[in-house]
């Protein structure tokens, strides 16, 4: 029972870090009706900067790197929107290009090794279950971000502007909504959140250029499984993925744990019940 609870809580905490990368997908989707798969790239450049420069200089450099990366994506999105009405598939493909470029930049600048950097020392003891302090802090940050996003998207005037920009950018512009600035702002917030996720990733499980695409896949998987309904669903979904991975790691041998997460995502997707975009981005 003790092992079960230990794995359960560890899974929730590691899922919270993935949740920090999943929530940016929701922000971009709420504003642009498309997805920015470059979040794994923002996380990698940010996390590796923290490892390279230390906590004092590394955190601001890491956050700035993530924001800079998201600005490149924002610029790409705006040009695509102007020239081709930003077909969601085209935007996703372009964001893969930005993801590739950012990972390659991190490889060129910081090297190809997987790195780890201790953010906070020590562990937290809850009824005999020991948890790494950094992971617990990550969960706290994820919950704070979730509440902030929930208020922003659901109750604030800015949230209404974001939804209007996504639903019909042309008409929103006619009614005086600064669609361009709203969308750029959404990408910046996405980049910032993903950079925070990258910092927690380097402080918990470690980060490297090989993990960029994998982080995107896990985070995007959480969003899709949750049906792109909102940040809360994505966070819960990310925690479920974290738990599945933790149980697979704890109760199986060999590489089974590595296969369980993608297999779980594939099975959920193939079931077709949670296909968020049905009737939305389908070509026909």
């Amino acid at each position: 029972m003790h092992t079960f609870l230990q794995l359960l809580l560890e899974g929730i905490l590691s899922g919270a870090v993935i949740g920090l990368l999943a929530m940016p997908f929701n922000i971009a989707y709420a504003t642009t009706k498309s997805f920015d798969t470059a979040v794994g790239g923002y996380a990698v450049v940010s996390g590796m900067a923290v490892h390279e420069y230390g906590l004092g200089r590394g955190v601001p450099i890491g956050l700035a790197s993530g924001v800079l990366g998201s600005l490149i994506m924002a610029g790409t999105f705006l040009v695509l929107r102007k020239r081709h009405q930003a077909d969601p598939i085209i935007v996703v493909l372009a964001s893969f290009g930005v993801l590739f470029a950012l990972i390659s930049f991190a490889y060129w600048r910081y090297g190809g090794d997987e790195v780890y950097k201790q953010l906070l020392g020590g562990t937290v003891d809850i009824g005999g279950i020991r948890l790494v302090t950094t992971s617990v802090l990550g969960l706290g940050v994820a919950l704070v971000v979730l509440i902030a996003l929930w208020v922003l998207l659901r109750w604030s005037a800015l949230g209404r502007l974001m939804r209007a920009s996504a639903d019909d950018a042309h008409h929103a512009e006619i009614t005086g909504i600064p669609v361009t600035w709203v969308q750029v702002g959404a990408f910046i917030v996405s980049g910032l959140l993903a950079a925070v996720g990258g910092i927690f990733a380097v402080g918990t499980s470690g980060i490297g250029t090989d993990l960029g695409a994998s982080l995107t896949i896990q985070a995007f998987g959480a969003v899709i499984i949750a049906g792109a309904r909102g940040p809360g669903s994505s966070l819960v979904s990310a925690m479920v993925i974290g738990m599945v991975t933790a149980f697979a790691t704890g109760y199986s041998s060999g590489g089974l744990a590595d296969i369980v997460t993608p297999a779980f995502i594939f099975i959920v997707l193939a079931s077709g019940r949670l296909d968020f975009a049905k009737g939305n981005v389908r070509r026909a």
Binding site: L93, F96, F100, S104, W108, L269, V281
Partner: protein, 345 residues
Amino acid sequence: MRQMDLLLCRRVYGPALLVVVGAAVMMLLIGNNASALDSSLFIATDALLALALGVSYGQGGILCMAQATFAAVGGYCSAIVASHAHLPAIVGLLIAIAAPAILGLVVATLTVRLSPLALAFATLTLGQIAQVVFEQGGNLTGGFVGLAGISPTWFTWTPFRAQLWTWVAVAIVVLLVSRLKHSVQGTAYRLIQEDRVLAESLGISPIVRLSSLFAFAGGIAGLAGWLYTTSRFFIAPDSLALDLSIDVVIFVVVGGVGYVLGPVVGTAVLVLIRDRLPSAEVEGMFYGGVLVLALIFAPQGILHELSTLAERLRAAVPGRQPSSPPAGTGELSQSRSEASKAVPR
């Protein structure tokens, strides 16, 4: 009528002929230069993967991000047949084509009803699953090290011969793809893309048609995997990995997804430029930048831009009417009424 037949003939056989001529000229130029032979072999193998994606995405609208995985399945099957079962190479070839085709059929049956983004993502996770299976396959797959020391076949005895037969395979696949595109089946695929409901009302089953197309693409990728394995005499989990699947998407987008020759042109251009980059570290920046720029400035690919340019030049010549699109090109979309007329009920 005769003119129509000639035009159709030109559209069906023209692209394959262009590949034969282009490959012949290239082989004459590079001779026995080892590094050039290696580049040529890379281009041809990757072009086969790109053609597989060109079939599924260009004709069926299915963005499959697991072409390298299908190739790896084919490659591993042929390697296992050669090194464990000691069966003839031709048996390995047949299994290398059949296994990914069957896998593709199963995956497609499960996923073709999904939206394009969810489907693309599902195939991406398939690549991750396959990678772990290859790594954890023990003696059967050789684990992380892979399977080495695979005996060369008659086709791939020397680098020149491997290159020759890989380009022959490219030409044959281009011909098959071209014939498919201009057949009744091809028209049905276009109709499914244009209006799935109308297609179903005409008795066309999108799931059956798209699944068979997916399986066909899987078979092409399996052929590429067989050629890769038998020409390099080894295969490992990293040989045909997830990165290559994404590279292939870039090749197809840059070359032109709606054109039969688009994937081959995109692969050739990008691999040739990549080989001249100062280091492998900047490869991702190059590919990423190229993909973004292509989507912005040439979303229909290089061939579309060249085709448009040729049309403009023709129109600029006094007294000449713009002619039909050149060989190797063809519109991705056809008008709904035209397509529905051509489909048998």
